[in-house]
Subunit: 322 residues, 2 copies
């Protein structure tokens, strides 16, 4: 183990005040009744979080501890999202740096929620423009698109105007471009830049008008949630992570609805089934479900063996094109 101080390895004096505070923050996702949801605390405006401390064995175990303490919810699958250090803050007179290490966690709602003040909230309360399952959402046509175009038209220079129009068109699929569900983070950041999101005002940005879109969160929590959504929407296409969000036994349509909830778009049913079956991701339990309202559906369970195999192969979901 190397324990030389990095700052002195090359003969340079170590800068003063190197120490920072490290914060762990979690995007905990479940799919409840066909709605993708995030676990929130406070006034449903915060993600579970807490400082990384000496008693934590690792970053991940620290995160698990905080989430369980704040929400009573044990975590299963965890993956790191991103580390931010954008925020400075004044602490007892001197400047203090805060590093936020964010994680994506997948779980199921059924785990008993403790007495804590936590709540599952649909993604689309915070990002109503992200749900394209029933076509283009009203808020996109009525608020987001006109405001974005106005923001583009507002620019001083011609080049900036067309640049802004083009960025908006790519992010939201205007002008006959395909809508790409993976661009959730870019869309949020574009709305932030355009002052369409109320977090932007807190940073002292001027806002053209009072209308904003979606429920805000404290600090940069909504941006971190957008990061988690984008990551998950990308990941479901090549890793079998959806199953972390499913009950032990499910029908293929339930599985499809979960994927659609996460992706924010509908999938062709026969093609979805074909892809799931030919990849051998699931196996029949032999039982059927009568709760479908029509012909009973076969019940399936995840083939846990694929977790070993798919390190090589990857899995696919039919979300490729528009």
């Amino acid at each position: 183990m190397d324990d030389r101080a990095k700052g002195t390895r090359n003969g340079k004096a170590a800068p003063k005040a190197k120490e920072v505070e490290a914060e762990l923050i979690a995007v905990v996702v479940a799919v409840n009744d066909g709605e993708p949801a995030a676990l929130t605390i406070g006034q449903a405006d915060s993600l579970p979080s807490g400082p990384f401390a000496l008693e934590h064995r690792s970053l991940q175990s620290g995160l698990r501890t905080w989430v369980e303490q704040q929400t009573g919810h044990p975590l299963g699958y965890i993956e790191q999202l991103y580390t931010f250090a954008d925020r400075d803050r004044i602490d007892d007179g001197r400047q203090q740096r805060v590093i936020s290490i964010s994680y994506l966690a997948l779980t199921r709602k059924e785990h008993a929620t403790g007495a804590s003040t936590c709540a599952w909230r649909s993604w689309y309360e915070y990002f109503p423009w992200e749900d394209h399952r029933l076509g283009i959402p009203k808020v996109e046509a009525d608020v987001v698109k006109p405001r974005l175009l106005a923001w583009a038209a507002d620019a001083e220079e011609t080049a900036t105007r067309s640049e802004r129009r083009r960025r908006a068109a790519i992010a939201f699929g205007f002008e006959d471009r395909p809508w790409n569900e993976e661009l959730a983070l870019q869309r949020y950041e574009l709305l932030y830049e355009a002052g369409l999101v109320s977090e932007a005002t807190r940073d002292g940005r001027s806002i053209a008008s009072a209308s904003t879109a979606g429920t805000p969160m404290i600090a940069d929590h909504r941006r971190i949630l957008a990061t988690g959504i984008a990551r998950l929407r990308s990941k479901i296409k090549y890793r079998p992570v959806v199953f972390e969000l499913m009950p032990p036994v499910f029908t293929l349509l339930q599985l499809q609805r979960a994927v659609e909830a996460l992706a924010g778009r509908l999938i062709n049913k026969p093609n979805f089934r074909r892809l799931i079956e030919q990849q051998e991701l699931v196996e029949e339990t032999g039982e059927t479900s009568l709760d479908t309202g029509g012909r009973p559906a076969k019940l399936y369970q995840f083939r846990h063996a694929v977790l070993d195999e798919t390190a090589v192969a990857g899995t696919k979901l039919p979300l490729a094109r528009g």
Copy 2:
């Protein structure tokens, strides 16, 4: 801006000793004469790194500062890799946590190297088993494979033995499985676990025999390098990042050789050309190169416009299968 302390938001007492040291560490990559290389300092056993300090505007700018200071090399493209906190260390009597935030940076060698003690080293000095361009490397057949199988056979329980064999087969493509260049990190970690890599001895692990593979680095730097290699090998398949490593003007074969160097495997030539052309990633300069040894090759340059377009589409390289 939210400036409430996270530790007290939920009425819990803030744990003591929350502060940690944050270290920035860079995997700087270039392709020199058809060899993929990393920028090293010291005895070519360390990656550029340094503490994140108050005077840095952001994590990225801190990283740029350290790399430029230690190597004289300005950085272009940067992306975050991973944040580790595995290492504790004893500093003036009390325990001190170190968080390492690692980045992948892409550049070109031609940028003048300062007087610093830095060096470009081929990836494959550290990971000789990762270069499959000329078929299965000697060290894999002679050292890695037999030692891994011996390690598997060494296990006490039958289940552990077959489990180890299966993990080795997946990671390295034994037993007619395809070799997947993206599994560079898994391969390194497997060799670490099997004691085939000399870093493992430093952590007090027992090693079955003296033979180890590849040049070691200090601390966990080789693991971070493996993380960068795996990330880059994955990313070149869907984002046009190769061009960050190319000179302004190049032939299609030079481009192919660069991709092959990074991927560690050869690519079918006509298919590569077809994919590059039909994606309109490049445009002809009108010039030709006579340095090819045969028929002169057209020179191309990257179409920078695609950086705007590919947020939607992604790009592909023919590296899909074995």
